[in-house]
Symmetry: C2
Subunit: 178 residues, 2 copies
Amino acid sequence: MTEANKEQLRASFIVKQLQSKEYLLKSGELCKFECFVHKGILRSYYCQGEEERITHFSMEGDWVSDYNSLLTKQKSRINIQALEETELLSISPERLEELGLHIPNWDRVGRLFFEKQLREKEKEMELRIALSAEKRYVKLLNEEPIILKRVSLNMIAKYLGIKAESLSRIRKRLASKK
Amino acid sequence: MTEANKEQLRASFIVKQLQSKEYLLKSGELCKFECFVHKGILRSYYCQGEEERITHFSMEGDWVSDYNSLLTKQKSRINIQALEETELLSISPERLEELGLHIPNWDRVGRLFFEKQLREKEKEMELRIALSAEKRYVKLLNEEPIILKRVSLNMIAKYLGIKAESLSRIRKRLASKK
DNA sequence: GGCATTTCTTAACCTAAGTCAATTGTATTA
DNA sequence: TAATACAATTGACTTAGGTTAAGAAATGCC
């Protein structure tokens, strides 16, 4: 990639600022961005009846989007909400398309990007697959301790697919074990 | 893609035959293939202590691989096993790499492929996220009835993350409702 | 500081799913 | 045809997690 290309790329991003609890995307909308998280943390979730199901936390260095909506141009079913004051670098799919015409190896970059996303998704899925809630919590504790530190237990419970009360009991049980 | 390219591509695949219960990949091995399922059905699973956790069923028209092992060159943690007599078209990552050098837009094809894989993975994850076992079963019944027809209830239970006995009870409960 | 709001914990009770053990059903094959 | 193996169900009992409601701790705000 030439210097001119890099400059082109940098100039294509728009800075977005979100307050805590502000939404980047709401279900029913079309997702028209890919965002790089520069500062802050967000949750992606969807509603299952009364329940909110958190699918993912995105923080510094991560990319956040609803790829399903973005790539198929269908309405999104997920909500993306900032959990802290958050700063994002946003780019539109049209702009990405344009860049692709000018920058060599662009598709290769895209391929590697999606390969990585897929691997992360597979890893994330392991956490979900039918361990007991306690084991899921311990796994999260070991593998993603940063999330535990930055996010309320309420959100962690929604991520683990259990009630906050249950999480509280699990934590108590674990504390008494050690 | 030219006719010559297509021919090149076709010639790169090796036919693999598996009997029912034979393994395409065992955990601990390196995954060195991407396979197109021509006929048959396979399950991908890993072992969690004593339990087998099925992550995915692959059948006619699907691609099957352990992308994590394939792309990172690390030992696989998953097992891929045929559940019926199965015929696969297999290609090695080296051969794919070679083809990439000769076929225009190859990276684009790869990108679109992984985009699709990611979307499917996201969809699959929804099934997992903390619905009750009964709702997960009903969802599977509605969205993937073919799987139900082809695979033993034992396997379905392992896919849903419950015991076969529980699945049996759920089925009984549902039958009496209607 | 004091008041409100959100976050977290606790308790009593209920339900879904796990466990263990036995039984029935069904293919396969000797 | 019995004999074996595997698949599915059933029952009695236990346990993890949901439900509801209340209280404690932490946080923000005037």
